[in-house]
Amino acid sequence: LGGSGSDSEAFVYAFGRSPTEVQFNIFRQSNFAHSLQDQTHHYIAKGDITGNVWPDLPTSLSTDGNTLVIEFPEDYSWWSGDDLTAEDYWTYLEIRRLQDPEASHIKDNVLVDDYTIERTFKGNVSSDLMRADLTDQTFGKLTTPRWIYKEYLERLQDATTQKERDGVLDDLRNMQIPIDQLSEEGLGNGPYKVVDWSDNDTAFELYEDHPLAEQTNVKQVRLVSELATENIRAMEVNNELDMYPEGLIGEVDRDDYPDNLQNWKEIDWFRMQKITFNWENEHLAKRPVRRAITHALDLHPMVDAAVEAGLVGKPPALQTGIRSSIHEKYLGKGWVDQLIEYPIEADEAGAVEQLEKAGYTRENGTVLDENGNPVEFTFLTNDGQFQSSTGVVVSDQLESFGFGMDVTTVGSTDYYQRLEQYDHDMWWIWHVAAALWHPTSYFSNDFYGVEVGDPNSDSETGVTGIPFELEIPSEVGAETTDGDSVTIEPAQLMTDLPVASSQKEVKEITRTLVQWFNFDLPNLTWIEERNGSWGDVKAYDFPSGDEENVKLDMDRPGETALMHCWIDRAK
């Protein structure tokens, strides 16, 4: 049984998919391949918990007007020995742009020299957003050796019609880079290179030519693929893992885990979880009903249930739609204080009061609408992890309050398919679209965010029944539109947000959206998660993040540390 026992030299940790199932052509990602690419290729940029974006591999990301300048270090190379240059990344950027040059928001990408790229946006974009454009968990890595992708880029450049371009793209997407090719041809660029693999493990060896290689004494790394095995937790409990790069040891697990495993880095994560209200339901379309539900729910048991399933986090104090840790940066302290405060614990009386505003009553523990009919909702959830727990707790709470609840639980693949059919009244989905502590990742107009729908469509409401145009009070924190009100277009605002031309505009749009969210409660956010990484702190020295030149307040601190050679075997 593998484990650190058999090759005790290696640093063992668990993550991602089976190496034999994924392949490394970023344009044809499948099988959740990025989970492995995280260990083989460097990121370009990463956001941190304060909402700032930092260069990861590049030495700097500077902005000037609509231009973003990316400078690459000169001492990096691919495992093949070829120099790693700006052209490698430029090739990727250009392929992306040329997929559909008209639709792209990029004007051009210029390869200034071997180590510099100038990237110019078509419109005015705030500098934060220009940088943020480079971050993405899935695609924000330098995975494209120029000699492999050059051919496709040239063909794209030669293509004149969209049809020709699509043809090239099809070819590109059919191209595959399986792990044996990656290893043999040296197509990775991380400090640890792939030397062996099996169905569910990948073995890495320190790549001595990597500029950071000297910093660490960990020569061998073994990655157990989390998705290909069933016994990760058994390995953890049996002390067979040295690190988990993303995830904390929760309270519930603490007793089961050996003492040498400790959370060595904790962060306020970007992720939140929410319950979506489908406005297509006649009751949920009514604001007082949504507010009543919010009053009726006690967020603590929901969070507790999630915690039981291994999540770490706490309920948000305010329904703003964005994470409280970035309130200050985008909303300002004083402004936030004016927002409506909904109870976190259950407030039955408040809930009934809200219901009455809609003309509803609660009799003998049953909520009746204005016509005296019982109010019933369908709830969709999946059977995996904490999602089912939440489903159970939410529906039980609402049921005991007096709503009729009909919960359907489906398997997780089915869940995401069913989710997008919008055939339920409430469901469950996480609330954030990108690994970025930025309003755009929360107010994204899709089911990760506050989905409204396509504002350019002909209808008046989006898929979830939310109108494209609606009224909110002008005054922040007002509970009704009885006073002054303004008409806003949330869907449009969410489309505008990622291309806001200035930090000021970002803030403005964000405030409007937050106010709307707070007033209308299109969704209910119920947990702000914490994350981080745990490891065998006896056997290894992990960075705390306070060291010089060490930046760990970002997503996946474990991987970040490993990819920067910040982990050492304890002496």
């Binding site: 937790r233 058994a234 953890e236 409990v237 519930v252 697990d253 089961d256 048991p301 507790d304 249930a305 039981e308 399933a309 999946n382 059977d383 995996g384 992890q385 089912s388 727990s389 159970v392 707790v393 039980d396 709470q397 049921e399 005991s400 009909d406 919960v407 359907t408 639980t409 489906v410 398997g411 997780s412 089915d414």
Partner: protein, 329 residues
């Protein structure tokens, strides 16, 4: 019928007419004794039937009275993750959300019965009809088509087929789930029924009934179905076990959507929450398992006992209205 025949009959029957016809109630008593009480008496003599009956009765009670007695499990009812055998309110402990595990098991029972019922009825019913039909139409096109259909379904591996079917229809209604599960099970049975019918058809009493001009439905019912009955019931019992197995496996794999409790769902949830390495979650996994095993154990036992219960030889021995002494042959 000619005149003379009539006469002979009358003569013969006039011989002694003072015979007292049995009263209606005596007849009723006899029928009751033979069709209900005798099998029951055998069942009571057969430990398998007794055990199976007791277990199933318990489950039956669980699914009826139990549901009525138990509180509908709801999160936060009790402290979470309590161990079993500590409190009367949750004898088997509680789950992650503080729901009584016993209550959940109890609440899952009616649906399980519905599923079993639908599955067994479909599998055994279709099998019986198809088997009878093609057995009686041996050699005709109907027979060929039915058997071809059965063969085709036999060769498609069952579970994958069901997975696909359920993936398409995403049934949540227990009856529908039962029906889907039954769909995969009828062909094998139908084949066996057919071969049984073929051999029963060779029995001379069937031929005799035909020659006596008894109507075909009556022959089917009395001569064929009567013989098939034990076989059909044994298989209904075994099919029930399979329905339990397969439905639970589908819920366990998370393929079937579910709206309420099911033992497989409990297992699924517990398993997903790493019950195998979190000892405090084990009851959540283990008790549904035991429930499943016990119920299928009852069905397997029942199927074994069924042979005895429907054995007329034993029935005769246990019937009170037949005196036993002069039993020869």
């Amino acid at each position: 019928m000619t005149e003379t025949d009539e006469l002979d009959f009358e003569e013969l029957f006039d011989d002694d007419t003072e015979r007292e016809p049995p009263s209606r109630s005596a007849r009723l008593k006899r029928t009751l004794d033979l069709t209900v009480l005798a099998p029951l008496r055998i069942a009571l003599h057969d430990w398998r039937a007794v055990v199976a009956g007791t277990i199933l009765l318990l489950y039956g009670l669980m699914g009826t009275v139990g549901v009525w007695l138990a509180t509908k499990p709801s999160s936060g009812d009790y402290p979470k993750l309590q161990g079993p055998f500590q409190e009367l309110a949750y004898p088997l402990g509680t789950d992650l959300y503080g729901r009584s595990i016993l209550d959940q098991i109890i609440y899952a029972t009616p649906d399980m019965f519905r599923m079993i019922f639908a599955g067994a009825v479909v599998a055994v019913g279709v099998a019986a009809v198809v088997g009878l039909l093609s057995g009686f139409m041996r050699g005709t096109a109907i027979d060929a088509v039915l058997m071809m259909l059965a063969d085709i379904i036999i060769t498609i591996p069952g579970l994958p087929l069901i997975i696909v079917i359920t993936a398409i229809f995403q049934p949540t209604n227990p009856y529908v789930v039962g029906v889907f599960l039954g769909v995969d099970m009828w062909p094998g049975l139908a084949r066996t029924v057919r071969s049984q019918v073929l051999s029963i058809r060779e029995e001379s009493y069937v031929e005799a009934s035909q020659i006596m001009g008894l109507p075909t439905p009556s022959i089917l019912r009395r001569d064929v179905a009567g013989q098939l009955m034990p076989f059909i019931l044994v298989n209904a019992s075994l099919t029930s076990r399979r329905v339990i197995f397969e439905s639970v496996s589908l819920y366990f794999l998370g393929i079937l959507p579910f709206t309420t409790y099911n033992w497989g769902v409990l297992m699924n949830l517990a398993y997903q929450e790493n019950a195998l390495t979190r000892s405090e979650l084990l009851p959540w996994l283990v008790f549904p398992m035991i429930t499943i095993i016990l119920m299928s154990f009852a069905f397997v036992l029942l199927s074994q006992a069924m042979d005895a219960i429907f054995n007329v030889r034993l029935q005769a021995r246990h019937a009170e209205t037949i005196d036993e002494e002069e039993v020869t042959g």
